[in-house]
Amino acid sequence: MLLTGPNGAGKSTLLRVLAGLRKPDSGQLLWHGESVFADRAAHACKVAYLGHQDALKPGLTVTENLALFARAGQGNMQAALEAMDLLPLANLPARLLSAGQKRRTALARILLANAPLWLLDEPSLGLDANAITLLGQALTAHRQQGGLVIATTHVPLPLENVQPLTLPGASDSSASPFYQQEDDA
């Protein structure tokens, strides 16, 4: 599902709600009929979230940054690094990476999470054409395995058969009906 809409429409907020990081102002969030907020830790295992920020520690290398998350999701570090073309950078401190390389590292963390639902907040931010192709391949592979992707974007992503959802602008957001979201993935 592709989330689009003008700045301030609430795309990022909706993703944070879906991730269980933020409680909805009204309505409830259900996963297979059970409230997400009853057991947030269990919901967190089903979700991989990519925020605006890359959440990398400048002092740690790419591998060290990802190690904790590889352990949490039991993901394959080599495969994730390879999918995002990060193998040559694996032992570089994150402070030396460019913006696009940092974004790719953050995307590798999504791959490591082994989660059925990916929530991506502008995943293509700062990526070059080659990296966007890699992102497209990762998204396609995830969907072929039955995974679910909800992404916000301002630029077209290399995806087929997407379901678009456009949030209305800030002026009429009070009428937004998207607070109740039910998932039957």
Binding site: A48, K57, L68
Partner: protein
Amino acid sequence: MIGLFWAIVGRDLRLALRHGADTMGAILFFIVTATLFPLALGPSPELLRHMAPGIIWVCALLAALLPLDRLFGAELEDGSLDQLLLLGVPASLVVLAKITAHWLTTGIPLLLAAVPLATMLGLPASALPVLLTGLFLGSVVLSLIGGMGASIVLGARRGGVLLPLLTLPLATPALIFGAAAIDAASTGLPWQPDLELLAAFVAGALPLCPLAAGAGLRAAAE
């Protein structure tokens, strides 16, 4: 889940090692402030020996506060907090891991630095084991209460100012019992009751502080 706990601790220890200046800062602050007292009070050995427990405890308390501001602040700023909360472990366990790392990188070095300072201030050698046992328990309390305070003020605009105001009053029982135990030991009185009360304080703070701090982190992430 236990494996993830130690993985978070390990990550924080590695970060502390890479940013050694931040870690050393608290210890140097402890040593420098404690050495200011003889300069201000005069070199009377009797006076310094009498004041040593209080000086060491107050300075340790203030030094332990220094790194607290960044304990969760850095995680919130770069977005790591969201990722830590989405690891699939309860927020209170994440907090406990970070508090453990804070204790290992601040509490233990403070303990080691207290030995030469106590000798410098003329504390009798017989009181040293009591000082170290008290500071051991006390530093655990400071890390727990400090971690709770840090997560509660997280995201507040003037959090750095608010943090000591919130944490220091809560830590006063530890200060009172810890300093009283050393005082008792150096005058030959029984010191066990003070340390036992301090240990009771640790036993109370250990389950409660991470719970409160976990709720604080969740609120800050919203």
